[in-house]
Symmetry: D2
Subunit: 417 residues, 4 copies
């Protein structure tokens, strides 16, 4: 690991004092791509429901790096070889894993950039940094993309029990105030081991893993997919889609240059490959561009845009209904009709005032690699098999709900976290 | 108190579940003037030093209202008469006490609006709300402005031991991670009483009051006046002053309409009295306008503006020195000269790259009303007299430092909270 | 409720300041039967594994009373009628629910008193207090014994989601340091309601109930049934059984009068009914009698007694093995034989040095009344049906393990909580 | 440092998971002298006021050892040489520093053993262990007794800012629930350094040191010297003194052999030197012997003994008055007289029912070595000079109160922590 001349400590209310372990990692932390994460909230619009949840992706990334350091120390103490170079690369990989995030939330990815996921964009940006740094991020990129020969290092960065998830569960629980979502990350880390190049949890940690999965699911339904947060997100998507539509029609619209660029180019194929300017605009885009524009749009001449922006800014949120079965078409048709009547919008525009969809908890993804439990006799079992408490339904991923959100004449606030 | 049909609970990571005590208070909470506080960080640029400190003035205001409720219950249980109407008014007053805040920090007040303090603006906005609400805030305004006959109610809103201070100390300590700044707000509240219409603390609470003053001072030097936070604030003031200068010269500058308005009108006398539009622009102004503009200014043709904006956005902050005595003029002259030489700016522009000033902890203000201790025999003493541990120097307000901050050729990051 | 002249506050590290709500409850708190609980640890021998877990049944009882107060306020706010007298009775019932506890743990009940459970003894003592107090505990007794017409009050005292369980989960989690065992008791209480005279949880609290059951199970296996704690408990039972045997043989044994009484009378039928002195001895018996005796017994001439006492006092605990299936008789026979050989004890005495048994988590008891979930449409479902995550196996109560604990030549310490 | 075959972790609710750093330290932890501390409460009778404060000297010792490890790592990272052997010795020294404690509290030292302080007894016991261990504790003993050439190691074990004090402040604050007593031990440790072989705190840690001293003083008056705790302690001293008197008169008294030994020999000169059995009795003496005896004494024929024991066991505590000046002799005389009249005791016995004394906070002892602050320019200042907030009075040690405690006809409970 590179020497440490720049002694830096970050005071994290969640994990305590965090030492930045090396000068190289310190330089990464200082890089504008990482500093940008200071301007992107970790939980996006969830702060509309949980007003304490204002924490940023920056601090989450630093926290995940810190847990990575602890996990590596733990694995080493059990005889698993991890070189200093590998350790630094794994920490770099997790520190950078979120740099490709759009403002606010995953939902905006599809609205602002065609066919793009933040993981792909993160990689693109890491590669750009790597070029700047003369290849110093080579190993980190191999670990990030799971091309490094030690698979377990990738699993620590991105897997069912990675340091990303451990950090965000405790962090989101801490800042939202939903204390039941907290987990014993330190205990889970103490139980980690490697078997046949795969990350495993020692058998006596099984209760902690069960608790982790339950807490994760609780956080999904109570926080990440809180109906009001989802409705707000849909509202924002509608607003931006409307803005895109107005742009396409040649209407004038206040927006920062970066936001304007994406409103105008959101539907282009392969944007980042075809236009070198795209990435620079992306790096200037964060939560503030969106908020700043919406405030101005509250008085825009387009009724749909101003109505929705007004509702958003003043927190007159969509009303939400949840159901185990899809909503009847009749209800939707009635809604549509009422907007045409009451708001004086065209039938084509009415869809901007409601949204119906299926939401799905991703507490555990059985399609991805599984959490493995290591028994004293050397046997390894899948958690789905090892746990005698968790329902297969959850572990099989069928954990979902239908919801319908829609504008009310006089919307009601709902903070009831 | 008005009846409660809208049962609302806010989940506060600091104080736990907060019940909104009445429909009227709930409506105030929903008011756009209060919702705007969701977009203004409580600690402004301190998050550059303590990245967890992203909490907003909104949640602080709600927290202070909650402590007010507890204080009122406590005072009532000791036989002090407080009517339901007074209780609601006191809670309204503290809920609204911060609505006149500019983005980021007190320092910006003077930069964006000539001769105006946020307290004055808060009052202006509360009066505007009162007109809308048909006088329902009359009592709240009397309490806020200390014209209500029960003085102690005003002291709970604004005094040396008010609910504002109690809330922000524990809250800022919680989110910054500086745990020593925390205090026993619940214990202090339990010790409150009223004597001769003045708020007093019962004698056995004296240790908690001493602890409160020490914690407050610690927070001043370690957080509120952290040298890096102060330097960042000065940097931002310089940037906005430069932007104002460019505006005055007729240069084009990207900014939201609200920010642009203040850049163009910041130096007008009696702005709010002379231009009715001013208040509307103010209500649209928050942290996002500033951040959004600075990002665009990083590529502005004016070298001073772009250099400073770049430093700010990428966290290449001013270097800071602290001293018990003023800095020598020679040092300043050398600094100035070096900027002319190295940056190629004019001698007139060089002052944008440094700042020297005196900073002062306001842990206890002996010029304002004093904290009073009530003894079992009915005697009341000033804390300065009652405490046998606190130094008169601190209680006499002479707690200050000189500092000098300035741009470095290659700036260094300083997270060391 | 009786008036409150005696303003008393207890500082609880877990729940914060607890106000004793009435003079009557304050007097109960001061009663020697309740004060005795200050000398009985809540988690008994678990402190051998989790050295922080030294908290007493007294503070637990006070905490449960406090949660009862909050639950009652919540239920009242939803329109359920609970008179002041009922409220005080329910609080009295839960404050007194544990006063019949023997020292250390449930296991000792059978060793020290024939055919007696602590619940029965608690009732006997409450009735004794009631006689002293001229019938003031009549309603409390009806609630405690489920003979009061409002069933839900009994369920708050003793049920699958009673205030006893809520308090001990958060308390035991807090003091043991097993933070994953913590639950959102405040959230669960906020979701409580009454339907058809039964305690129910509102549907949106289902995640918290699931979390409660998982946390409870985690606490069972990780804390309450921690193999080392169970082994230590068995060790203590063996020691006391040996002491009883020696008493029966007329051997002299140091013990406090109270402990000596039970060693001599433990096997009598209907002890409390037949001997009025029994209850007085019981009231003088607590953890200190046991510890005090064992220290003296470390040098007793009886080899079995001194060997075991020495191991206990110096924490040379039994070794434990856990299995999903019963242990083979052969293994046991070998163990027995080795003790005869190595320790020089008789084949009859060898059984004192090991124990095999079945342990069972009681996270949820499907034989008892069920946790009921109340939906918005008024429907009530059993949690086993309502939860789509919890495995029926757990909810059907088949959550158990076989274990074998035995003396090692040189025992090993095991703190690994 | 010796190798680590015995991987042991202790779960501490205050400091989290604590790894025992070496096999040697693990063996010390297992030693009966250290295990005994599991049976001695850290705060003695303070649990009569703060019922959560049941934590033991064992966990405190382990915690202090853990902080020592962190302090050593910190000092090493700043270039101060500390060998592995020295590190282990310093950790051993602090782990063992309390093994000479009598049950309950320092006050009992003088009652049970003539002219003996626990520090002296700790050293005696460490030397006994050292003999057993073939000299392996030689360096630890040199550090403990300040005969080792690196003075700062002794200061970490015993000084104004030692790991003992850091641990007990946060621990006692945590378990009592007096949260204001908590300090930023991690921050102080991060600021430690060594200058001229003396432990110093770097200048930017001065606020934390001030906070530490204020918190320490708050804990003294609010917890350690809480008037009810002090009164209870005096009550216990009186009880044991009466028991000694009865023993001397040849009266029969129930007590464990260990307690009986000290009751009979408490007044002998040089007990430990003259009687080899003394130390063995001492090692068997802990809180349980005292409690167990007092319960039996509640029915002793001696009125003084039974009255006081009854009051103690049933928590009918002495009433306490506090004053800045000594109490008048007249008041005392009246008290004495009333006991003769009301209780029917002789004038000679009346003194058992009250106590007057001077209590003194030891927050900072200016007679001992001072806390030193290290400035960036290498200068070292005493905290009394460096701090501009703390009153010299406190730093000069004149922080004291007179108190008088006495039996009431019907005593009142006082939990008001």
């Amino acid at each position: 690991m590179t020497s440490l001349n720049k002694r830096k400590i970050i005071n994290d209310p969640v994990l305590g004092f965090i030492n930045i372990p090396s000068d190289f990692l310190h330089d990464l932390l200082q890089h504008p791509f990482v500093q940008r994460l200071n301007r992107i909230k970790q939980l996006g619009l969830t702060s509309f429901v949980y007003p304490g949840a204002q924490h940023t992706r920056f601090l989450h990334s630093v926290g995940a790096m810190h847990l990575m350091k602890e996990a590596i120390e733990q694995l080493r103490s059990k005889g698993n070889e991890i070189t200093d170079e590998e350790a630094e690369a794994a920490m770099a990989a997790i520190l950078l894993h979120d740099i490709g995030h759009t403002p606010f939330s995953h939902s905006l990815e599809n609205v602002l950039i065609k066919d793009f996921k933040h993981e792909k964009l993160s990689l693109l940006l890491i590669e750009k940094m790597n070029a700047e740094l003369g290849g110093k991020l080579n190993t980190a990129i191999e670990i990030f993309t799971n091309r490094y020969r030690k698979t377990f290092l990738h699993q620590l960065v991105s897997g069912q029990l990675d340091m990303d998830r451990l950090d965000y569960l405790i962090r989101d629980s801490f800042f939202s105030g939903v204390r039941e979502g907290s987990i014993g990350a330190d205990r889970i880390i103490k139980m980690l081991n490697v078997k046949n190049d795969e990350l495993v949890v020692e058998a006596k940690g099984i209760y902690s893993v069960e608790n982790f999965l339950i807490a994760r699911r609780l956080m999904y339904w109570q926080v990440y997919l809180h109906k009001t947060a989802v409705a707000t997100e849909k509202m924002l998507c509608h607003i931006l889609n409307r803005a895109k539509e107005l742009c396409a029609k040649g209407k004038t619209l206040f927006a920062s240059p970066a936001l304007l660029y994406f409103l105008q180019n959101a539907n282009k194929e392969n944007l980042f490959a075809s236009d070198p300017a795209a990435i620079n605009y992306f790096l200037l885009l964060d939560d503030s561009d969106i908020i700043c524009a919406l405030k101005v749009w509250t008085t825009h001449e387009d009724k749909v845009l101003s109505l929705l922006s007004c509702s958003f800014i003043n927190r007159n949120l969509f009303k939400v209904k949840i159901s185990d079965t899809p909503f009847e078409e009749k209800i939707i048709a009635e809604l549509k009709n009422s907007y045409v009547q009451e708001l004086g919008v065209s039938p084509d525009e009415a869809h901007y005032f409601y949204n119906e969809d299926l939401i799905r908890s991703e507490a555990y993804n059985p399609q991805a690699e599984h959490i493995k439990i290591l028994y004293n006799n050397g046997e390894v079992k899948d958690i789905a098999e090892a746990s005698d408490i968790l329902n297969r339904q959850m572990l099989s991923g069928r954990d979902r709900k239908f919801y319908l959100c829609y504008k009310l004449p006089v919307a009601e606030q709902s903070f009831d976290g």
